[in-house]
Each structure stands twice: as C-alpha cells, then as structure tokens.
Subunit: 188 residues, 2 copies
C-alpha cells in the first residue's frame, strides 16, 4: 500500500536489532486518516472471506481493527494482556514479545469466542508471528476458524510470515520490510 510505504520511509526510524519504530503514526501517536485507508485496503483484500468477527490484541491492533470492523460491519474483540477482575470463564495463551523480550498471557472471555466464529485477525506488526500464534492457540481451544490475517507491517527477514503462510493461512501485509540492515529501511 503506497501511502503506508511512503509514510514508513519518511517517518519510520530504524534501531539496531531489526527494530522499526513507527510511533509517530501507528503505535503511539496514530494518524486516523492513514488508519482508515489501511482498513479500506484490508476490506478490499478480505472482501470474499466469510468472517463474522474481527480479533486483535491490545493495544496497537485496536485502531486498525475497529476501523475495519466499522467498514465490514463486524464486531471486534481485543485480547487482553491482563485479566480484568470481572472476567469470568476465559481462554488463555502465552505470547513471547520480541520487542519487550518477555512472555505475557493474552486472554479472551469465552463469551466472545466460540466454535462457530470465523475470524479475521488484525495486528500492527508481523515479525516472528508470536501474537498470531497466541491467537491461533485461542481459536484452536474452541474450534473457531481463522479465515484471514491482516498486518500493517511485515518484516520478511523474521520468520512469522513464512510460518503462517506455510500453515495455509490467508495472510495480507500492507507493507513488507525486506531489510533494516545498517539502519536502512528497504521496503518491497
């Protein structure tokens, strides 16, 4: 997606260790107009899948997910990283965060994910695919089907994308970063 690629090139910042910082327009300060354009692109790419729900993980996935939910008229559920006191029966999975170098649990109330659900999973980044693996785990626990996965930015030099595509998932990334070597952003 051209607008996103140009914004990454002009405003993204590279850090040693393959880290791309996009906190000026995606995951700290957000550009709502760009966010809606990205959701529109997802709505085109997922036009033929039969989904009844969108799933994401707090916090950076929420903005693109709610925009896509609005366009497709589907409810959006975000997995939580801390279990609220008022949450009843829940599904839980462990996720390792590459940027934070630690594991955390994600949870979803059993009320909002079940065997009849057909899910589009949305997130900001696809790197090693750890959040996606957590979501796959939650869906497998109840027999929900994942009919699409959409990421704003994929880092192709980390193996999440190939892992998910090899498993047969319908993965769409709006910008694919092929290299961040020497802190130079190379976009496909």
């Amino acid at each position: 997606m051209e607008t996103l690629k140009q914004t990454i090139l002009s405003q993204g910042k590279c850090f040693p260790g393959g880290i791309l910082k996009v906190d000026g327009f995606i995951n700290h300060q957000m550009d709502p107009k760009l966010m809606m354009e990205m959701a529109e692109e997802f709505s085109t790419r997922f036009a033929t899948v039969k989904a009844n729900k969108i799933l994401t993980v707090e916090a950076s996935g929420i903005a693109p997910a709610i925009m896509l939910g609005y366009l497709l008229n589907l409810p959006v559920v975000f997995a939580k990283k801390k279990r609220p006191l008022t949450m009843g029966d829940m599904l839980q999975a462990e996720v390792f965060s590459f940027t934070k170098k630690q594991s955390y649990n994600i949870c979803i109330s059993k009320e909002f994910l079940g065997k009849n659900d057909k899910i589009i999973f949305i997130d900001d980044f696809l790197a090693y695919g750890n959040a996606a693996k957590g979501i796959i785990g939650l869906c497998e626990q109840v027999g929900a089907e994942i009919v699409g996965m959409g990421f704003l930015i994929e880092k192709s030099f980390q193996d999440g994308g190939s892992y998910l595509r090899d498993l047969g998932y319908n993965v769409h990334s709006l910008a694919i970063i092929d290299s961040l070597e020497n802190c130079e952003i190379k976009i496909r």
Copy 2:
C-alpha cells in the same frame, strides 16, 4: 446519548461494589457502529473547541479516540501503561485503577506532547477520575492545555465528574449512571 443508554440497559451487567460491565460492546468486544455514533456525538459537542490533538489511555480509550480523530482530522496519542524499550525521553504519571485495585504508570513520549498542544482527552469510563488526573499531570508537566474531556460512561455516584468540573474542565459524558445500587442500573 440514547443509543448508548439503551445498549447499557439491555447489555450492561452490574457487579457488587459499583462495577458496571460493558465488555460486550465497549471494552472487550466492541460494537464499531456504536463506537462511530459515539464519536459523532463527541464531534458535535467539541465542535467549537480549538484542539490540535486527541489523547487517550490504552486500551479501552483507543477505539472511541481514533474514531473521533478521524472525524475531526486530528492525530491521536495513546498513553502507554508500559514503557516500550524504544521510547526515548518521556513524561510519566501515576494512576490508581479502581477496578484493578492497584497503581500503574502511564507514559507519553515527549515527542508527542508539548506546550503548544490543545488536547481533547477521551476515555471509556469516568469514575473517580484517576486516569484523567494522570493525563492532567502529564499535560501540566509540559504546559499543554486540555480543552475538552469526553467519556463514554460516567458514574455520577463516584466523584471524578464533580472533581473535574469543579476544576473548570469542559467535561462531556455520553451516558451518566446515577446508581448501581442493588445491581439495578439507573441512567440519567
């Protein structure tokens, strides 16, 4: 706001201790159409304030904030509850969570909040106003001005609303809960 009130009455759940659970349409599963309607209502109420930025706190504030940012064409910044490894100079404030019974820090990068900013603060709940106090603290540290505060649901029997209005803040709540006594939801 009538649609929101009706949804709270039909889908909200009461818990002892003044807790209202709205996780079927606001803060776990989200209804994007309702979210956009609420943002439209905010955009009307804040039509005359001169804001250049919307501020919220992860995670439940993000959806209404991004929708409002889209309608008003303003950038949206969400305060984080955990400092990312890549965040440079930052502003920090302590917030006590009523529902979670513990304190946490919120932080915003100094890149995204400064003395020329005129802020609309958006959040899902106004109870004791603790998140709002944290945001006020962050804004005071740099001299940013808060020109409006918008909440989806206010609990008038907890004192955040009167505290903020007494300080002169321009507070708008889309549904005001006057009582949850005996687990009966009374909306103004």
